[in-house]
């Protein structure tokens, strides 16, 4: 890439400008070259070069984006496994195929991992050598000035009455004051600026690496766990207490922070009227927690967006629901169950919830129930439904079974599903029970009383030691990116020659200097180098005390220079004002001014012509002052 672009510029410049163009660290210097592989080592080296080229890194980044598309279009096991099952059963042909390709687990798929691991390797291989190179070039000086700086893509040439050494010193001082890094030689100075561009680019890549490392840190040393907690209950942060527990690869059960949490009360409020009736407006769970055994117990009002942070582990409120309370006696008249049974919301707008009650202790038959909980029961032609998510008129309706629950068969059972194969449905018409109401089961197998309800919340506990490093890396990456987009690398060259007599009759040898000034920038896409160049030209000319005397028709020193400045003369007014001001300053000695006015052959015809009016005013002012 470097080669191609540099040549392009050189072509346009009609000169070997390319060799003066600042090298851009963002571009690999190796990948573009055709490799001559020697045996296996050669091939390996070639592969490594290809892998670590910037282009490859970009392609991999792009691939990563493309690869994530199916993850957003197809249901994913990580977020919704039931949907995946549904999808597979609905698409008997496509489903299994997609499954084989890990398309239901895109972000854990081997091919997805392959892309980001390659990206990681590519970045590392790209960044390390470049960091080294940058460290070296941090002290490097710009190259020597070309013979004719004015022939660079931006150029200008003019004469000043100052002596060459003085003119050079003036230019050097000015460029140094502008923060350029300088290199001087016999009759020339080379200046370069914009090293921050590479620094920014490097920062971006290193930060990206750090970001991936931070993600890895979380995957190794973090954990995630879920628990459903009913009002009045508590749990300890131990593997045994959790419903689901996903530890990172390097987490041992003993690493979990030793805290305990109790749920006192959960409250939700809903919009009571209007078009958004039934939408939730706030959730809050009042917790008590203890950082570790023996420490004081504290209170916390847990809300969505306000996780509880204990020792770096964060506790989140994820969901909530109802747990109707039952009191069940068995066929022998003994109390077989008395507890709140969490039901899962089947409908998130009216919170109709479904659940299962298993009574393994009931004798002689075990009992099981499939139930529906309606927070605000309304009867509408035999159909049970809930009109509002808040418990304004709570009721349950149960379908009852007796027989064998199958809990001893060894196969794991979900608490939310009743295995009815060993049971018979009891012949009893389901009807809503309100708090305090009982239902006698037929054949004397028992009695069910709906005693009331509690609420439950689902909590997620996560610990991710990578989150702060990830945030810092992300911020640094953006910062680096901005630097590399906004800073441009540019070089300027000034060369002075003693003016030769005869080129201009009025001049005497040794009394003036020809100044050539040129510059070029790499990747100045956002524009701005033009303006900078014009402003700098103006400043240097002003410092050289050049007055604008040249008329448009006058033969320029260097025609091409005039052409290139022609394109930048939009700012001509700026440069001419600089010239005028300095002309005013030098007007004290008549002879000098006069000489200056005619002797400084101004090659920037375009500027002179376009701002002709300003020039003549300047000249007039000059004359007046005389």
């Amino acid at each position: 890439m470097t080669g191609a672009r540099a040549t392009g510029v050189a072509d346009q410049a009609g000169q070997d400008a390319g060799q003066y163009l600042p090298k851009d660290g963002a571009q690999e210097e190796t990948a573009g070259q055709p490799a001559k592989p020697f045996g296996i080592m050669g091939w390996l080296r070639w592969c490594w070069r290809q892998l670590t080229s910037m282009r490859t890194a970009l392609v991999l980044l792009f691939l990563l984006a493309v690869a994530s598309v199916p993850g957003s279009m197809l249901p994913q096991n990580g977020t919704d496994p039931t949907k995946v099952q549904q999808y597979i059963s609905q698409h008997p042909l496509l489903g299994p195929l997609l499954n084989r390709l890990s398309l239901f687990d895109v972000f854990a798929a081997p091919w997805f991992a392959a892309i980001y691991l390659l990206l990681f390797a590519s970045l590392a291989g790209c960044v390390l050598p470049r960091a080294f190179r940058l460290a070296v070039s941090a002290r490097a000086k710009p190259p020597a000035a070309p013979r004719h700086p004015a022939r660079l893509p931006f150029g200008s040439a003019y004469r000043t009455t100052q002596q060459p050494a003085e003119a050079l010193a003036v230019a050097t001082r000015l460029l140094s004051g502008e923060g350029f890094r300088l290199r001087t030689g016999d009759g020339w100075v080379a200046a370069e600026k914009g090293y921050l561009r590479e620094t920014g680019n490097l920062l971006f890549h290193i930060a990206l690496l750090a970001l991936l490392a931070a993600v890895g840190l979380g995957a190794l040393f973090g954990y995630k766990a879920d628990i459903l907690l009913t009002e009045g209950d508590g749990f300890a942060n131990t593997v045994a207490d959790y419903d689901q527990y996903h530890p990172g690869r390097a987490v041992a059960p003993g690493d979990l922070q030793p805290f305990t949490i109790w749920l006192d009360k959960f409250s939700a409020s809903y919009i009571a009227s209007g078009p958004l009736r039934g939408e939730p407006s706030s959730f809050a769970a009042s917790l008590r927690y203890q950082q570790q055994p023996g420490t004081p117990i504290r209170r916390y009002d847990l809300q969505v967006n306000h996780p509880l942070n204990i020792d770096g582990a964060k506790v989140y409120l994820l969901g909530h629901g109802y747990a109707p309370q039952f009191r069940i006696t068995d066929g022998k008249g003994r109390l077989a169950l008395q507890q709140a049974v969490p039901f899962l919301p089947a409908d998130n707008t009216d919170f109709t919830s479904e659940g299962v009650i298993k009574v393994p202790d009931a004798q002689p038959d075990q009992l099981g129930f499939v139930g529906v909980f309606l927070p605000t029961e309304v009867a509408s032609d035999g159909q049970l439904s809930s009109a509002f998510p808040a418990p304004l008129n709570p009721a349950v309706s149960l379908v009852s079974y007796a027989g064998n629950l199958g809990l001893n068969s060894g196969a794991p059972q979900s608490v939310y599903q009743l295995q009815t194969s060993g049971m018979r449905e009891l012949p009893i018409e389901p009807r809503p029970l309100f708090p305090g109401q009982s239902m006698k089961l037929p054949n004397g197998v028992g009695t069910v009383t709906f005693t009331g309800y509690r609420q439950w919340i689902s909590l997620q506990v996560t610990y991710d030691p990578g989150r702060v490093p990830a945030l810092i890396s992300a911020i640094l990456a953006v910062f680096g990116l901005l630097l590399s987009f906004l800073v441009r690398r540019r070089r300027l060259f000034v060369r002075v020659h003693p003016a030769t007599a005869g080129q201009d009759g009025a001049d005497t040898a040794g009394n003036g200097t020809e100044v050539e000034f040129g510059g070029l920038a790499r990747s100045d896409v956002a524009g701005g180098f033009e303006e900078e160049f014009v402003a700098l030209t103006a400043a240097i000319r002003a410092a050289h005390q050049v007055t604008q005397g040249a008329a448009a028709g006058q033969a320029p020193l260097d025609e091409s220079a005039s052409a290139s400045l022609g394109s930048t003369a939009g700012q001509g007014s700026v440069s001419s004002q600089g010239g005028t001001a300095s002309a005013g300053g030098t007007a004290s000695t008549d002879s000098t001014t006069a000489t200056g006015a005619t002797a400084s052959t101004d090659s920037t015809t375009g500027a002179a012509a376009s701002t002709g009016a300003a020039e003549s005013t300047g000249a007039a002012a000059n004359t007046d002052r005389k």
Binding site: Q12, A65, K224, S281, N305, L481, A563, S567, Q571, S610
Partner: protein, 346 residues
Amino acid sequence: MPVNIGMARLSDHLLLFTVVIYSLAMLAYAGEIAYGRRRGKATAQQEPELALAGVAAARGRQRESAGSAGPGQVATGAGGSPVTDTDTPPDAVPAGPWIRAALALTTIGLAAHVLGIVTRGLAAHRIPWGNMYEFVTAITCGAVIVFLVLAVRYRAYFLGLFVMVPVVLGLGLCATVLYTAAGPLMPALHSYWIAIHVTAAIISSGIFIVAATTTVMYLFAERNAARVAVGSHAGGVMQRLPKPEVLDRLSYRTVVFGFPIWTFAIIAGAIWADQAWGRYWGWDPKETWAFITWVAYACFLHARATAGWRGRKAAVIQLLAFGCLMFNLIGVNLWITGLHSYAGIS
């Protein structure tokens, strides 16, 4: 606090009024293109040459011949084109009556638009970007503001028609399909991060909309320029478009401006996700598409900045990136369910 019904109704009326006024403005911009002043014939002929002068600084050399052709021509070149590229008008034509009418209408419409958003916030007692209706209303407002800034700063009036088309469409959708009554935020959105994350998303989306319309114009102008170069007759209306290079650069700068804000929106979203959902990144569909959009815009910037791509190829990448942005806004909200479902459309 209950919704202030009067305010909510006022907001609805103001936004309807806005659509009407914007539509009129759109007609006026179209009128300018159809009946407005032409650029002088002479200038038009010099255009390819002048354009070159302005574009790539590195190409200044190519104008050697132009430079020696005579002082007069150089003067025009110097006076006309670089100016175009930097801070002053891409369109040398002064604002005619059509444009003045269009700008006045746009300003009135914008005032109603902003008031509509403010009253919506007052009605619901919260920041008014909690669902897709409010979000699209705000994005279109952002786009109009960005357009007016460009119109004032760069005299980029020509953008008016092209920006008003998506804005009127978006507001039209708001009034019909997306309409959601004012109400309190769902608990998931009770966080000051909504003011940070969503505001950044709104601003950057508004900016990207204007950048994309500029790019569409660029593609028209570029095709026209190619026709002129071949010698075939250029369409009369096309004649009024600014030079393709100007559009190309304006669009690029606009993206450069919007990209960091977009990045910020994503990072703020990640911080919020860490607070709300217990992880900063989880490949939720909205997150995934935000990432894809980010990569696509980064590719566009990179293609221009380091690979030196410009013109049609870069324009196509930018439009692809914009497609991802729009898919995230429309497709992900309406057809894909995820954690990030605040559209409020059922």
